[in-house]
């Protein structure tokens, strides 16, 4: 534990730590997407997945290909896109709330066969 903290402050965190973090974040997002019943929580889970990919881009760029900027730019664009997606998704969720007075996915069952 002490080693990790020293590493953190001296700036030599191994790349595996970051990749492990992003992988855990990504699968937390997948798990949340599949189990949560509230649409806002589902949206948050999806955001976790997008941000995990962003961390990957930044870390790969910083550690493996320090001479270029492609990964950083990709994360910047992804952050903007994630904001757009959230805006549209929340607009649709608000519309559902107005119609059904609920944002639980269990109520979205009008088209069941």
């Amino acid at each position: 534990m002490g080693d990790i903290l020293t590493n953190f402050f001296t700036g030599t965190v191994p790349i595996e730590a970051y990749l492990g973090l992003s992988l855990i974040m990504f699968f937390c997002g997948v798990y949340g997407f599949l189990t949560r019943k509230n649409m806002l929580m589902i949206l948050i889970s999806v955001e976790l997945m997008l941000n995990a990919a962003d961390i990957n881009f930044a870390v790969f760029n910083r550690y493996l290909y320090p001479g270029q900027l492609e990964g950083f730019y990709f994360s910047l664009f992804t952050i903007a896109i994630a904001a757009c997606e959230t805006a549209v998704a929340i607009a649709i969720i608000i519309n559902i709330y107005r119609n059904l007075k609920s944002v639980e996915v269990d109520n979205l069952n009008q088209m069941k066969e």
């Binding site: 649409m39 589902i42 997945m49 990957n56 760029n61 896109i81 607009a91």
Partner: protein, 473 residues
Amino acid sequence: MDYSSFLQMHEEFSLLGVMIILLLYDIFASEKYLKYFQPIAIVLFLVHIVLNCVPRETFQVSGGMYEYLPIHSYIKTFLNIGTLIVFLQAHKFLNEDANRIKRGEFYFLTLSTLLGMYFMISAGNFLVFYLGLETASVPMAALVAFDKYNNKAAEAGAKYILLAVFASSISLFGISLIYGSTGTLYFNDLPALITGTPLQILAFVFFAVGLFFKISLVPFHLWAADVYEGAQTNITSYLSVISKGSAVFVLFTLLVKVFASLITEWQPILWILAVLSITIANLFAIRQKNLKRFLAFSSISQAGYILLAIISGSAIGMSSLVYYVLVYIFSNLAAFGVISVIEERTGKINIQDYDGLYQTNPNLSFVMMLSLFSLAGIPPFAGFFSKFFVFSAAASQGFYVLVFIALLNTIISLYYYLLIIKAMFLNKSDHPIEPIKSDFFARVSFAVCTLAIIAIGFISPIYDQIHLISFGM
């Protein structure tokens, strides 16, 4: 810095021009001129199609971020024609009092998804590709939820956006792993660096999920039926034809160009997906009562047939894919057009409502019959030729078992397509749908679709041209 190379992106700039003109016209025109909005939109879009239909020389913009190939002109023109037909069919729906205020939005959202598809098709870098993919899917969700006061539309919109973002974030994670293992995102540099390490195979599988979702192949198809049913019919037709057509084209170019060295990995994946998509979608289509759900499953199985062209990975596969998309646009849009006309006037959408349609609406039944025959692949119509080319593309690479399974499924599909034709022509009904007079724009779209379904198969220069140009892919 020299920006002149950007001006070579004619298609994108002219589409952007159409979008901006329509947006400003919708905002600033007075009530007197606003009633010409839709004819002006259609004429502008027609001009855009005509200006951009001629293939040009290959070129690159911005160091290979955007790469134009002559075949892109064809696929973009076909998507344009499909969009134009959707506009013609949506004319009546958008002229209703409740929707008149929103029609500017309809055109703007539709055209922005089309712009996203353009960038997706001509992308030379994963960044441009991802931006295009998202530009194509985010406004699409807004379109699906277009009808604000309809619960079903809102539900369909929520399902679409949440699952689309889920799929695209898996895809994005895949792209990040590709970047990590190769250090570049340019399509031209990647083939040399993708050597088939386990990480790259994992990255490819993650990445492909996003595209499989857009094409709605079977393990990723669960959104399709609900979204197709909930969205307004014209929007459903756009979603099922244009969005799918662009995604299959992009899947093909990526597999052949970028992931060519992983061919031993992606061919079995596509094999399984094709068999599953065709078979399961066919079996589910048989038990559908609602015509929109029925066409949703039918379009999933059509996507499975398109995979037969992709799996061959050859130039013949490319030309048969583009040809299949062209025929599929006309056949499916004709079917959706008839359904939307009938749904708008009477609100009837189930198959048993169509009993005795031939007595009251012979023309509509005729168009519907032609489109279903074409979708099923009955010989004199265009659908037969497109299926034939797709099958021969797969057979030329030795996928005989796959072609055989697909052929068996064509017979199953013939059964359920004929069920609708039987309902229209043979079944008697005490209360058939009353005679419907469709508006001028819808009739033009039916005429175009009918002519195309009958003629495309016989006008061999069309296929020859596509074939000629697809060798330069």
